[in-house]
Amino acid sequence: MVETVTRKRIEILVDKPLAGVPIRAAADVGIAGYSLVPVQSGSGRHGNWRNDRISGAENKVLFLTIASEDKADALVDALAPKLDSHSLLLTVSDVQVVRGERF
């Protein structure tokens, strides 16, 4: 059986025009790999939104990265003060990966 190790999966829901914020923050703490997953619509305290609006200002995207615990902690610390002002939705969970040295 292949050996696996535990890493962190960080998921951040962010407005498309602000996607640079988590990307830069991740780069600053040494996380170079990430993927952006499209989101189609949603609802929250500020009402509903959906992607087919003319202006892309409210479109959202899911920033997804796998990182070591240290880097994940550093990223959460870096973004914590911006969660409210930039209305980011950030979650962290444990995942098993095969090639742990990559992250």
């Binding site: 407005d15 025009p17 602000l18 640079g20 914020v21 830069r24 500020h46 009402g47 509903n48 992607n51 087919d52 609006r53 003319i54 202006s55 892309g56 200002a57 409210e58 911006k82 002002s85 930039h86 209305s87």
Partner: protein
């Protein structure tokens, strides 16, 4: 009066109204996002080309320079005027008022295109160079709005100051408008001929389709608006009336033809809902996007399409 009736019974406007009614009735009619974006790129390329071809025939005239200067000035100044009313009567805080004010200084491409169509139908089509004026007016207001929002405050540096200026100056619509304007200028009428079957002939029909979508989007925005107050709705109607009147009068004063003066009025009256919202979301993340999108897209855009365009046409004819 004539222009009001002929505006309201033209298919272009009727499709817009159809879209609004469908959204108010909560129908699930929707134009796919990719199609709407594709059509808006088409409209920008088409008017850019048309303007460039026209200028290649007329040459660079003093009116062009005057109209450009007037447009730049309006785009810079309107936010200051709007800001005062937004913080006073509108009761917005500094950041939100700055963000909203930038939208009113900037312009709406589709409002301009619709006005051009309708003015041309009234034999008062605006001059070709007005497309360049349109492109020039997109961005100065962003600078004014940001200065207002941040005045006296230590910059919350997101480390994207340079990124923002870049985004603003090279945003898609400015590049495409100016790019196709120059292509039209280089190609001239003979170079344009082989591509006219795409960029000229079906133009009005495409605009119908696009306005159907705009009607849907604008009305949904209005229905779902949470942040709107009666005072802000009032400003969303007052701004285009005042700005459009100023623009039309200014255009007439600097000697533009009737159609171009009315078009300058329409540009002043219109509010951005593409370039500026994206820039504000980046630069002022604390501002509420629901607010500025509801005002510019939900209130001002429909007002201009249905009432503003004939209004400024009539005004330009009266004083022109």
């Amino acid at each position: 009066m004539d222009i009001v009736i002929s505006t309201l019974t033209s298919p272009v406007i009727l499709f817009f109204i159809l879209g609004m009614l469908a959204a108010f009735a909560r129908s699930d009619l929707a134009i796919p996002e990719a199609i709407a974006k594709g059509l808006s790129l088409y409209l920008m390329a088409a008017i850019g080309l048309k303007g460039g071809v026209a200028v290649s025939e007329s040459g660079f005239t003093p009116e062009l320079a005057l109209a450009a200067a007037a447009g730049l000035a309006l785009s810079f100044v309107i936010p200051y005027f709007a800001y005062v009313l937004l913080t006073g009567f509108g009761k917005l805080d500094r950041v939100n008022a700055g963000a909203v004010s930038a939208h009113y200084g900037s312009v709406s491409v589709v409002t301009f295109v619709t006005a051009s169509e309708i003015f041309t139908g009234q034999s008062m089509g605006p001059a070709g160079y007005m497309v360049a004026v349109l492109a020039l007016m997109e961005t100065p207001a962003i600078i004014s709005g940001l200065m207002l929002a941040r005045c006296g405050e230590k910059r919350d540096d997101n480390g994207n100051g340079g990124g923002l200026m870049h985004e603003v100056l090279l945003n898609a619509s400015v590049v495409l408008l100016m790019g196709s304007f120059f292509i039209g200028l280089i190609a001239g009428p003979t170079g344009f001929e082989p591509i006219a079957p795409l960029f000229l002939v079906p133009f009005t029909g495409v605009l119908c389709f696009f306005l159907l979508d705009m009607g849907l989007v604008a009305a949904r925005r209005l229905v779902e608006a949470k942040a709107m107050t009666f005072r802000l709705t009032t400003l969303g109607i007052l701004f285009p009336i005042v700005n459009g009147t100023i623009g039309t009068v200014l255009g007439t004063m600097i000697g533009l033809d009737v159609g171009s003066a009315a078009a300058l009025g329409v540009l002043a009256a219109s509010a951005s809902y593409i370039a500026v919202p994206a820039a504000m979301r980046m630069a002022l993340p604390e501002a509420d996007p629901g607010l500025y999108l509801s005002m510019s897209l939900g209130v001002t855009f429909p007002f201009n399409i249905i009432f503003g365009i004939p209004l400024f046409a009539a005004l330009a004819q009266a004083i022109g």
